[in-house]
């Protein structure tokens, strides 16, 4: 640690009970391979990967089973070798209780790797390295699961001032980064060195809350015999949410990155320490991201950190820690920002830093919500310097424009305001509600705009067709009149000779042929389609109907 490192502070924050100690007694254990792995394809921010396997396929450990869908996406791999038994919808580890496409693998017990080759990133172009990391499925392991390759880009200047590694781990109960830093400090630092090179960063600051002296000591010891002298380990004051990316950047560098702007524009980039380790494994060992360290804590007999294969059921994982009989819920993440799972039979994914086992006793129902008395405790606690009670007032009243004026979207949903509120108002719920309403309205507005554009185009087209039809009709009637006049003249002529009769028959036959031919070369444009094309048309029509449905209230308003 550099004693001269100057620290800054962010406003607000809270000091909840940390409850970290119980899960740090024992070293990281490897969770046993379960009898069935359910690996969701969509485990990162960005497009859902496309499945590369189907039921019945054999897969090896580390084999890619989902391919990144475009650049803003990240690949998914088989966590062990075995057989794909299904590619189907399964319950996701998300509060909504929604299902999504998963690859279900029955392990064969051999745990046989695909061929692994270290990646020489120095020989490769930066783009090739980023593509490699995308295909290795490396995403941010702090919980946000943002594809890491997108962040390993120095930006316009081509170099970076500071690379921040986030080992603050401010959420109560969670210790997965703590034990990682204690036990795998050397490899973590190698990962940091790779990232520093890729970003051309002048320095690396590893920020760790000062309640983790063992982790700080381990990293300092590892960096003592060092590979890279630009790496500094910095102890930061313990105060939730010091581990928020923006808050940690502020504490370490003094820079405040505004909402909606890239931190690289300010010369900083921030990664979780677990991500640095994953990058080391991908680049130096050629191993894609197939497991992570997960803290199991809370209402359990023995809290501990496990190295868990993605796709392992949370139920199997919790069973390793002797959950207490009054357990009534499983939360993914910590108590401040975590999400309650719809069931404990959901898979561990890349975002799962902690499986927090809860009970009524551990997390009691709060007393009933009281009116806001504007005491300002929430504003004092807000690390984003917002006025939470004002945002609450307008969110509750559904005056969303005003809520946005009070910077609703700068809210990081850290929960500090709700934590300190003497009226026990679930403030964050109100902000989530307001944000989703605003998003929904924007989507609706876009749909309405689209529908209106289409409607106007249709009117235009119909008008044009009408005019064309009228013109055609006019031409046709003119032609008909001429024809009738000609027939009349013919009838007035004397009877035809047999010669003429034969010629006439020939002409009639030719006309008949021409007519048939015409019918053939002008088929209806929806005839003769393949089944696929027809299905597509049906799908498009369905989508359009849906959009029209969505747009209806708006159109009615417009009218």
């Amino acid at each position: 640690m550099n004693a001269l490192q100057r620290l800054f502070r962010f406003n607000g924050g809270v000091k909840p009970d940390y409850h970290k100690e119980p899960s740090t007694h024992l070293p990281i254990a490897v969770a046993p391979t379960p009898t069935l792995l359910v690996i969701p394809l969509h485990q990162s921010i960005g497009g859902p990967p496309r499945p590369l396997v189907k039921a019945g396929d054999g897969v090896l450990k580390g084999q890619r089973i989902g391919d990144a869908d475009g650049n803003v996406s990240s690949a998914v791999h088989a966590s062990t070798s075995g057989t794909v038994v299904a590619v189907e919808m399964r319950l996701m580890p998300h509060t909504s209780g929604l299902s999504a496409m998963c690859v279900v693998i029955e392990p064969d017990g051999r745990d046989e790797w695909v061929e692994r080759n270290p990646f020489d990133f120095r020989a490769a172009t930066p783009t090739a390295t980023r593509d490699y990391l995308r295909d290795a499925g490396v995403v941010g392991l702090g919980g946000a699961v943002f594809p890491s390759h997108l962040k390993l880009n120095a930006g316009k200047q081509g170099k970076l001032d500071t690379l921040v590694l986030n080992g603050a781990e401010c959420e109560p109960f969670i210790t997965c980064d703590d034990v990682l830093m204690r036990e795998r400090a050397d490899r973590l630092l190698k990962g940091a060195a790779i990232m520093r090179e890729m970003l051309a960063a002048s320095r690396v600051l590893i920020g760790i809350e000062d309640n983790k002296p063992e982790a700080i000591a381990a990293l300092e010891a590892a960096s003592a015999g060092n590979i890279d002298t630009t790496i500094q380990v910095v102890a930061v004051p313990t105060r939730y949410p010091a581990g928020g990316a923006k808050q940690l950047i502020r504490v370490l560098t003094g820079i405040e990155v505004p909402h909606g702007e890239r931190s690289t524009d300010y010369g900083v980039q921030c990664f979780n320490v677990g991500t640095a380790f994953a990058i080391y494994e991908a680049i130096a060992l050629g191993q894609p991201l197939i497991s992570r360290i997960v803290t199991v804590a809370g209402n359990v007999g023995q809290a501990r950190n496990y190295e868990v294969l993605f796709g392992t059921s949370m139920r199997d994982l919790v069973a390793l820690c002797a959950p207490l009989p009054d357990t009534d819920r499983v939360i993914m993440g910590g108590p401040m920002m975590g999400f309650r799972m719809p069931s404990d039979d959901v898979p561990v994914v890349k975002a799962t830093n902690c499986v927090l086992v809860g009970s009524q006793k551990l997390f009691p129902q709060p007393p009933p919500e009281m009116p806001c008395i504007r005491c300002g405790e929430c504003a004092k606690a807000c690390p984003a310097d917002l006025q939470p009670f004002e945002m609450y007032w307008f969110s509750r009243a559904r005056i969303f424009g005003k809520a946005q004026e009070y910077h609703l979207f700068d809210c990081i949903e850290c929960g500090c305001c709700a934590y300190v509120c003497p009226s026990r108002i679930p403030l964050v719920d109100y902000y989530r509600f307001a944000k989703s309403e605003i998003w929904a309205r924007e989507v609706e507005k876009d749909a309405a705009d689209l529908a209106r554009d289409r409607y106007e185009f249709r009117l235009l087209r119909e008008e044009r067709e009408k005019q064309e039809k009228a013109a055609k009709l006019a031409a046709k009637t003119a032609a008909g009149r001429e024809k009738a006049a000609a027939a009349l003249a013919e009838a007035e002529k004397p009877a035809r000779t047999p010669d003429e009769e034969a010629k006439h028959a020939l002409i009639a036959a030719a006309l008949e042929r021409a007519k048939a031919q015409k019918e053939q070369v002008h088929p209806e444009n929806t005839g003769n389609l393949t089944a696929e094309q027809r299905a597509e048309i049906v799908a498009i029509e369905a989508r359009r109907a849906e959009i029209r449905e969505q747009a209806k209230p708006h159109l009615r308003q417009d009218d």
């Binding site: 800054f8 962010f10 909840p16 509060t95 923006k246 502020r250 560098t253 003094g254 820079i255 405040e256 505004p258 909402h259 702007e261 524009d265 300010y266 939360i331 993440g333 910590g334 108590p335 401040m336 920002m337 975590g338 999400f339 309650r340 809860g358 551990l362 997390f363 129902q365 709060p366 007393p367 009933p368 009281m370 009116p371 806001c372 008395i373 504007r374 005491c375 300002g376 405790e377 504003a379 690390p383 984003a384 310097d385 917002l386 006025q387 009670f389 009070y406 910077h407 700068d410 929960g415 709700a418 934590y419 300190v420 509120c421 003497p422 009226s423 026990r424 679930p426 964050v428 719920d429």
Partner: protein, 339 residues
């Protein structure tokens, strides 16, 4: 609860209100020491009235009565009314004041957290306009016999022996209505009402409130902004005018330690519901009250100006808040490193 955060700091509106009441105890103790137990009778009277009115209004409004009754906010309003009204005021004066505060100023505006005006100050303003003489009869210092006070409150009023004007009132009356030769020094020196700093007895009551205020600051129930801005404004403006013409304007120590200044600084203007909430807004809000208080005390017709000053600034509070929003994280400095 289905959504995070899953655990909360042990805090409640009730605990906030109870600590506010606790902070009033030192001031009340000194009050009783100098002016007798009548104030305790008023506190009891106001509390019972406030709780009954609160319960009735909650029932009428279809709210859970026991839950809201337990929040303690009605008691705080009741105590502040009892402490700002004359302790020997007839019982019905206090009862009407409390009813006006709880029924009209609080519940007709939507109850806890919704009232735009400080309920206790609405009560004070209403009663001093309606019953100016009754609201100006204060007990003489040292006359602590309980029975005459009890009779003043509930029985036939034999007041001459036990009442006298407050120091503020006495000074104002002397300066404004007596002959033009009256000076501050002359009035203060001649009258038994005035003590060492701000009025005999009253200066010590003010000190009691000050101690309670320090406790509220230590408990982080109030922030320093409002008391500091209010007292500093009062100090500077009264000090400035006292320097300019010491015969006509009384100095800051008198202003700060008399009347409702200390009670106002820590307990009344700091009401979060009706006041400003942003740090800069709090400073402007409290400074405005300090300025208006001095103007009303010095040139106005009423003995103390805090109630009117608070109500006037309550009206301005939303506007002040709107224009003093603190900068949001990342929007303070345009990029770059801070100082």
């Amino acid at each position: 609860m289905n959504n995070s955060p899953y655990f909360l700091k042990p805090a409640s509106v009730q605990s906030v209100m109870m600590r506010v009441l606790l902070a009033l105890i030192p001031g009340i103790a000194v009050y009783v020491w100098f002016f007798g137990a009548a104030v305790l009778v008023q506190i009891a009277l106001a509390s019972v009235t406030a709780l009954l009115a609160e319960a009735a209004m909650l029932k009428l409004r279809g709210k859970p009565v026991m839950l809201f009754l337990g929040d303690g906010s009605a008691l705080v309003t009741a105590w502040l009314i009892a402490l700002t009204f004359p302790p020997i005021a007839p019982w019905w004066l206090t009862v009407i004041g409390v009813l006006a505060a709880i029924v009209i100023a609080k519940h007709l505006y939507g109850g806890l957290g919704q009232n735009p005006f400080n309920p206790a100050m609405v009560a004070f303003a209403l009663m001093i306009v309606a019953y100016p003489s009754l609201m100006s009869q204060w007990p003489a210092v040292g006359f602590t016999d309980f029975m005459p006070q009890w009779n003043a409150i509930f029985g036939t009023r034999q007041l001459d022996a036990i009442t006298m004007a407050t120091p503020l009132d006495a000074l104002r009356t002397a300066l404004h209505t007596a002959d033009a030769r009256a000076t501050v020094a002359g009035v203060l020196g001649n009258d038994a009402t005035f003590g060492n700093i701000g009025g005999k007895g009253w200066e010590w009551v003010a000190a009691g409130y000050f101690i309670g205020g320090i406790y509220l600051l230590q408990q982080r129930i109030i922030t320093w902004h409002m008391p500091a801005a209010f007292l500093a404004t009062l100090f500077v403006i009264s000090g400035g005018f006292a320097l300019y013409d010491p015969t006509r304007f009384v100095g800051p120590s008198f202003h700060l330690f008399t009347g409702g200044a200390m009670l106002g600084a820590f307990f009344i203007i700091t009401d979060p519901v009706s006041g400003c909430t942003t740090p800069r807004g709090k400073l402007i809000f409290a400074a405005g009250i300090g300025l208006l208080t001095w103007i009303i005390r010095t040139f106005g017709a009423y003995p103390d100006g805090i109630a009117f000053a608070v109500l006037l600034l309550n009206i301005a509070a939303p506007l002040i808040d709107m224009n003093t929003q603190p900068p949001v994280f990342g929007h303070k400095r345009k990029g770059g490193r801070p100082s």
